[in-house]
Symmetry: C2
Amino acid sequence: MSTVNIGVLGLGTVGSGTVNVLARNAQEITRRTGRKIKVTHAAARDLSIARECDTTDIQLTTDPFAVVRDADVEIIVELIGGTTLALQLVMEAIEAGKHVVTANKALIACHGNEIFKAASQRGVMVAFEAAVAGGIPIIKVMREALAGNKIEWLAGIINGTGNFILTEMRDKGRDFNDVLEDAQRLGYAEADPAFDIEGIDAAHKLTILSSIAFGIPLQFSKAYTEGLTNITQEDVRYAEELGYRIKHLGISRRTAQGIELRVHPALVPERRLLANVDGVMNAVVVKGDAVGPTLYYGAGAGADPTASAVVGDIVDVVRALGSQEAQVPYLAFQPDALSDFPILDMGLVETAYYLRMQVSDQPGVLASISKVLADQHISIEALIQKEPEEGCDRVPLIMLTHCVQERRMEKALQEIEELADIDGKITRIRVESLG
Amino acid sequence: MSTVNIGVLGLGTVGSGTVNVLARNAQEITRRTGRKIKVTHAAARDLSIARECDTTDIQLTTDPFAVVRDADVEIIVELIGGTTLALQLVMEAIEAGKHVVTANKALIACHGNEIFKAASQRGVMVAFEAAVAGGIPIIKVMREALAGNKIEWLAGIINGTGNFILTEMRDKGRDFNDVLEDAQRLGYAEADPAFDIEGIDAAHKLTILSSIAFGIPLQFSKAYTEGLTNITQEDVRYAEELGYRIKHLGISRRTAQGIELRVHPALVPERRLLANVDGVMNAVVVKGDAVGPTLYYGAGAGADPTASAVVGDIVDVVRALGSQEAQVPYLAFQPDALSDFPILDMGLVETAYYLRMQVSDQPGVLASISKVLADQHISIEALIQKEPEEGCDRVPLIMLTHCVQERRMEKALQEIEELADIDGKITRIRVESLG
């Protein structure tokens, strides 16, 4: 039985997890593949620090290029992150005719088009299941299992930190900043949590999913991204009162005018499974024209779950070694069959809305608001008006609207905010029925 | 661009769905595969009846063997069901060097071992994603995506009819037989619903999943199968009161002594996603040592969802055409690496239990019951005792126990049923925390 040699770039959390899973499940993996798979080389920035994995039989170096250039290594596993050094390494590995497995979402979302072009010319595989939703095999599912479908839309909770924060806010009535500090302390969120809570991480992942679903080039720069820093405890409670949960979603949908590509908080009906995905867990709903709605759920991060995806990719590559024709296309569609169908401008996206505003407790206020909405053809589905608190002449007004184009809603909100009886900014959160 | 010719055996619900999906999404599928995929031949029992699909460009025959033998056909799609004729056709197709796609769970569960042996010798692919959980790509997920994991257990709602009945019983307070009649009227259940409600259909599917998870031969005859005909409205309500939902599950688990392989109703904690899978939908939870718990949800039956799985398999076969070495093993593990690890005897399976019995409203009754349980080392986790109804000297006693071996529970139940203060049979439903 011949051995396949793996070179791992980066021995941090995911790198160590990958080495561990390959070692721990070596027998099981060999029973599946008929091959021995062995990490023979690895690069790490600092060789003096203690590792979370056993590196006894691994040739270690601080120079990742040495691993990429090593003639004995057949598959390069890129787990250093970032888009500068990682890009150089991946391009050089491809150039050297090596297959690449990566967990790097930013790299694929921002440089995937050029990476796949080079890989296609060189006839090597580039696998990146671990880049989206950790251990959930959402890329394989869409690229292969649902290949008979015209995908209509997908929506996912694809950032565990954000979902942890929203879950804590709902379950324990805590405030955003308070939970965020906890998440940082627990290691769920980085010291600079912007990637997670501003939705950039989710937008990277969504960009990849969107290309695979609809057969379009990767277009990260066109993703609409809205974070969850404005979500308050009040919104969480009103949403609950209306039968919804607030989730931070990545959504991509095929419409007649273009592809929606957007990350933002949304109210989701509480009976949907997606509304019940809690804590750091991830889940993606994919709606295909034949299969209908399907959902995939699991851990979106962490050493072992991410390693599960990395090793799954390694097994795919090993099973296909020597049979280039059997390759599944990188972005699910043949490179020459990608479409230039545009990303839809956010102003043209249609959704329902949750609105919350502070209004004077006076007759006629609701009439003026309703008139502005009616002028923009926005109809109201539900309304909550609370009694004013003792000694307060302002009351919160909460509305759910029917679907309307975003630009109409923006116009209406601007006009309503100019009304004398409205205090400050209106909170608006989109509502996704996922039906 | 060369065309791949498909021969379809059976033009019923799934056969017509497959022809429709291939035609409707032809462009999308060609963009994905780089090939045209065309149903050129089809066999149906009666050519005079109206079809749910357009057969204009398909050469029709009543003789399925003619399709199997046709030199132009590269892939045979078996959708006639049953295990006699279907087996002959599949074996002859393999013999003729054709790749096979089938949705036939009974065929694979009962004859898969011999089918895969023949296919392996002949070097052809046999794909059967549609045989389990309809449109949910659970086979691909376990066979490929989770290949780096040691699978610990899986549990699924893998029969839509049963889940529809249980959902209606809970949501609408209806009785089992009443809902079953509805299910038959709606076409969810066959005129003879035994396959669905006795768990045989689920056992076929579970047998397949178990082999793929653990790398053991298909052993349908060793599956423990218990239907859901004994579930009453009372049990549904008491389960709810205790914080559980009753679901009909297929469960397979690796233990030190052997593999559990069992289909039966179970109480599932209401916060689990699986407990919230309602109506005819299916879902499977897979717990891998690296990935942790993952869940896959979608339509488990129906023309289009099943066709989605069939066409996904066809695309897999087409992508791998001409590269025999790239084959993923039929049962996920290399044929020579299957293990003879035994299926665990049901008496040795450990679960928690829900017990419901009618007892005399007398002092000392609970003491005698508790003594029998204690003698078998069974400890009680929760207990509900209701007030007797007016003029009635019997009360329902409901218990949740901690985990215990099935044989101990059977012994205890037998002894309790012999006590003077107990009326009739005790209802016992297993409890699965899925934690």
